[in-house]
């Protein structure tokens, strides 16, 4: 594999390059012209495949990169910002945390179980290739309405896929969210986040370096799975996706577990200089990206890649998305040491290439050069686009609609009915049906798991610290008002993390949007990113990475523009850990930080009770958000907070109910008086989703109120808890609402199990006879 002058000639048997073939590879005529100019000649079939993979949206971010550049990415504790497999922050005691979120929407729409499972596998690899040991995963899921059998099938399959993979590898799935809305019927969203821990000095980057260093393929053999999966992820979902089924990849969590252990051992051994997983676009993107980051040349010989099937072409080997594979750059002369470590873990390693001085990206098939690109231009030359942006007038009209005049339903005369009905909305209802299928306690570090707090708390062994972790994002808000939706996604994630006693530190984000070449969608993307940036700056939480998933459209339309924020917060000492249920041991005062408003737009109340998506989503005052977080954390540090829960979906009444029934074995009654806001419309007061509010149970209300006032945050005691009580009572002037806890609990805990009971995971779409299903 020495440097030599080369000529690239078409490989016998390869198709010749035609405009149709170029189009099939997703390249525009302009992009193709750019490729020809870069090469100074026509590309070969193999080269076309490589470029199609690297220049598609998933790998190149061609429609989002200019926007992403506007996000804040720095803080003194950020050790690695965007640009690597995962972001990394320092959390004290010499420890660092790597974290990243990624989407697997399209694969999950086609094969929910394997799609979700391989999504988890991919994000685990992104974290452990930084040198960090994964300690937790989070999953952020969105589906259509559970009324549809097809949706129930997707939901059950995705949950089983997320669970089986993480459970087998032994990484607890500790937090996340599940949202149901018809907007996601044809195109579910499956975003997975992984968080890992290392010592600061164990950080490694995926940057090829050292002329003559060998490039080694590690892990599973390469098969024909998922060829062009990355470009598949960048197309609209349509009936034609059915024909793409063989592109689906199958996960092998057992091999992943071995790969995890072997990779960490390799990184600690000092035998390697870089490591990256072969994820989207496989060998091609991992080798090209490592070379580009290190600004070196590489050469890869595809005949040395261990394959699973005979007769695989260079094109197939380069683009395969077989799972559980890594690409490693080792130090020259350490090949046998690398092999020995892999053998210990029953894995194979094969030298497939070399770092070279010559500034080229070259692929050979034995002696024949089948692809060659100048320098790192393959990665850096991808065009970026700034399409036209225009708000959809229909959406603007929906936002500007006055929702305060929507006539209430007759049943709403008893607000307890509305409350019970909202608690049974699958978006609000308990997700225990989901999280019970996840191993949440493996690694014995989960201090607060799913359902017990507003965020998960995972302790850091060997320290008194812990992490507060949560994903958040409200697509309905972002649909109605993308700027506000972007801000709220960050603010809510931060608030949730603060509610468990963690200081919000940094975010990763997953942007799930429709087709960006449509001006309406590009407008949403631009505004959401602007909103995220504003919130991150205001809250001091830089962006360390993320993922953009575009073309989330199906014949039934585009998904809501859905930003998902993965927030990492730091709990300074385990004494600060705070849960969301009212304490059962003694009565406490209930203090509301922040205040209700007349806002009702974009609420779950309107969506669930009135099937209406309209009105302006609640305003997000970032200074207020920061004040609420600071006040809450200061009260927690002072030791006066017994529980904390933010008011979000379903508003204040739902939040109160959740505090009462949050610990099902020790439910706690409460008596609350909201007469101070008697002038507000009752349903906005109870079910409106005004931002910047947290319910705190405390034995020292004065201290909590004082902490809030010092930060300009309104705060007021609104009631007391009643550990022996069986009701939640809410008074507003002369209106008295009384809701029985057992009924609330029945709605809240029973809603999803009841829906899913008649629908075992094995039942596949009834209304779509062509859809896929799986047994077991």
């Amino acid at each position: 594999m020495t440097t030599r002058s080369t000529t690239v000639v078409p490989r016998p048997g390869d198709p010749s390059i035609t405009p149709a073939l170029v189009a099939e590879h997703g390249l525009t005529p302009e992009e193709y012209a750019r490729l020809v100019a870069m090469l100074g000649r026509e590309p070969t079939f193999t080269e076309l495949g490589i470029v199609s993979a690297l220049w598609n949206e998933h790998c190149s971010y061609k429609h989002s990169r200019p926007l992403l550049r506007t996000l804040p990415t720095t803080a003194p504790y950020v050790l690695q910002g965007p640009g690597e497999n995962a972001g990394v922050i320092a959390v004290g005691d010499g420890l660092a945390v790597a974290f990243k979120i990624e989407s697997h929407n399209h694969p999950s729409a086609v094969e929910p179980y394997q799609g979700a499972a391989t999504g988890v596998g991919g994000i685990l690899r992104d974290v452990f290739t930084m040198g960090a040991r994964p300690i937790a995963t989070l999953d952020s899921l969105r589906f259509g309405s559970l009324d549809s059998a097809r949706v129930r099938y997707l939901f059950a399959g995705v949950v089983r896929g997320v669970g089986d993979y993480g459970n087998c590898v032994g990484i607890p799935t500790v937090a996340g969210e599940v949202v149901f809305d018809p907007a996601y019927t044809g195109n579910p969203l499956v975003n997975a986040m992984c968080v890992g821990v290392m010592r600061e000095d164990e950080l490694i980057r995926a940057r090829a370096e050292g002329i003559g260093n060998p490039i080694i393929a590690v892990g599973a053999r390469t098969g024909r799975d998922g060829i062009h999966g990355a470009s598949f992820a960048s197309e609209d979902l349509s009936a034609a996706s059915d024909a793409k089924r063989p592109r689906v990849q199958v996960g092998d969590p057992f091999t992943e577990k071995l790969l995890l252990e072997a990779s960490l051992e390799l990184i600690r051994s000092g035998h390697i200089v870089a490591i990256q997983d072969m994820g989207a676009a496989g060998l091609t993107s991992s080798s090209a990206e490592m070379a580009a980051r290190g600004d070196v040349g590489v050469t890869i010989d595809v005949t040395r890649v261990p394959v699973r099937e005979v007769g695989m072409t260079p094109y197939e080997i380069l683009l395969s998305e077989s799972q559980e594979r890594m690409l490693v750059v080792a130090r020259r002369g350490r090949e046998d040491d690398v092999r020995a470590i892999l053998e210990k873990w029953d894995l194979t390693a094969a030298v497939v290439g070399e770092v070279i001085a010559e500034p080229v990206y070259r692929v050979t098939e034995g002696d024949r050069v089948v692809a060659e690109f100048p320098g790192s231009r393959l990665v850096t030359d991808c065009p970026t686009y700034t399409p036209a942006a225009r708000e959809d007038p229909a959406i603007r009209a929906a936002r500007e609609r006055d929702v305060s005049t929507v006539p209430p339903k007759p049943e709403e005369r008893d607000p307890a009915w509305t409350l019970e009905t909202l608690l049974a909305s699958p978006t609000i209802a308990s997700k225990a049906w989901v999280t019970r299928q996840y191993d949440t306690s493996v690694r014995t570090s989960t201090v607060v798991g799913p359902g017990a707090g507003d965020a998960a708390v995972v302790r850091l062994r060997g320290s008194h610290r812990a992490l507060g972790l949560k994903t958040d994002g409200n697509g309905r808000y972002a649909y109605l008002d993308p700027r506000t939706g972007g801000r709220i996604a960050v603010a809510e994630a931060a608030r949730n993390v603060a509610c468990v006693g963690a200081r919000p530190m940094a975010i990763t984000n997953c942007l799930n949007f429709g087709n960006p070449t449509r001006p309406e969608v590009y407008h949403q993307l631009r505004e959401v990113i602007a909103g995220i940036g504003e919130a991150c700056r205001a809250l001091g939480t830089p962006v360390t990475g993320g993922n953009v998933s575009l073309y989330n459209e199906s014949p039934s339309g585009s998904v809501y523009p859905t930003p998902v924020i993965g927030m990492v917060g730091l709990v300074e000492t385990l004494d600060h850990v705070t849960r969301s249920a009212f304490p059962a041991d003694a009565a406490a005062a209930i203090v509301l930080l922040g205040s209700p408003t007349a806002e009702l737009g974009g609420s779950e109340y309107l969506a669930h009770i009135h099937a209406l998506v309209a009105g302006a989503p609640p305003a997000c005052d970032l200074a207020r958000e920061r004040g609420v977080i600071d006040a809450l954390l200061s009260a927690i540090r002072a030791g006066v907070v017994r529980s904390a829960h933010d008011a979000s979906d379903g508003g204040l009444a739902v939040a109160l109910a959740e505090c009462c029934i949050g610990d099902r074995e020790h439910m706690v009654g409460a008596a609350v008086d909201l007469s101070a806001w008697e002038t507000l419309p009752l349903r906005a007061l109870l079910f409106g989703e005004a931002q910047g509010r947290v319910l705190v149970a405390t034995s020292e209300p004065a201290a909590v109120i004082q902490a809030a006032r010092e930060r300009g945050v309104p705060a007021r005691q609104i009631g007391t808890t009643d550990p022996g009580g069986r009701d939640l009572r809410i008074s507003v002037g002369t209106t008295h609402v009384r809701a029985r806890l057992d009924r609330l609990a029945d709605r809240y805990y029973g809603a999803i199990p009841r829906i899913m009971a008649g629908s075992p995971a094995i039942i596949r779409a009834q209304e779509e006879p062509t859809a896929a299903g799986s047994l077991v």
Partner: protein, 230 residues
Amino acid sequence: MRFGIVSFPGSNCDTDAYHAVADALGEEAVMLWHKSHDLAGVDVVILPGGFAYGDYLRAGAIARFSPIMREVVAYAQRGGRVLAICNGFQIACEAGLLPGAFVRNVSQSFICEPVPLRVETTETAFTNAYARGQVVRIPIAHGEGRYVASPAELDALEDAERVVFRYVNAAGEPTADGNPNGAARNIAGIINAAGNVLGIMPHPERAVDATVGGVDGLALFESLVARVAA
């Protein structure tokens, strides 16, 4: 006292068992590699939870043939103490150290949650620090946790008081609603006839620290320490 914890490829509760012994219990813990034939002179072997060899085919089926299992079986036959947890229990059954077998949970899905267990006997090296009839809360985390055996085998287990832990409901009764996985006769843990091999489906090593999951599993480890010290 020295505990040896076996690491199979795919074990994922081996480090949890290590921390339970070394940190919570304060005893010596060593890891035993599956390819090794050396039990390092340990006083107790722990077969930990996880998905050894991916649990492909059947849970525990392949792990049973691991090199170290030859030593573990011989050690158990000599009277050495073996604590087999979750996947370890499945492996112990496949290896013939304990009777019975496991099939998928009745719900067909993986279940992770703390469950109440009743301690059925304290006349074992693993439970002498509990009170008879005591109800403890210990997490389960398994997809194939449904214990099955022939009626004759089950009767034999009962007659010899070898059912050590049973799943119970909130009232402490071994009813169907207190049975998370459909296990025969609510069986969560059994011991071999010689009294030196305990299989338990729930995870006592996840219940040794008040910060994460409570401390109801600690007495199991303390029982072993008390017995070996005696």
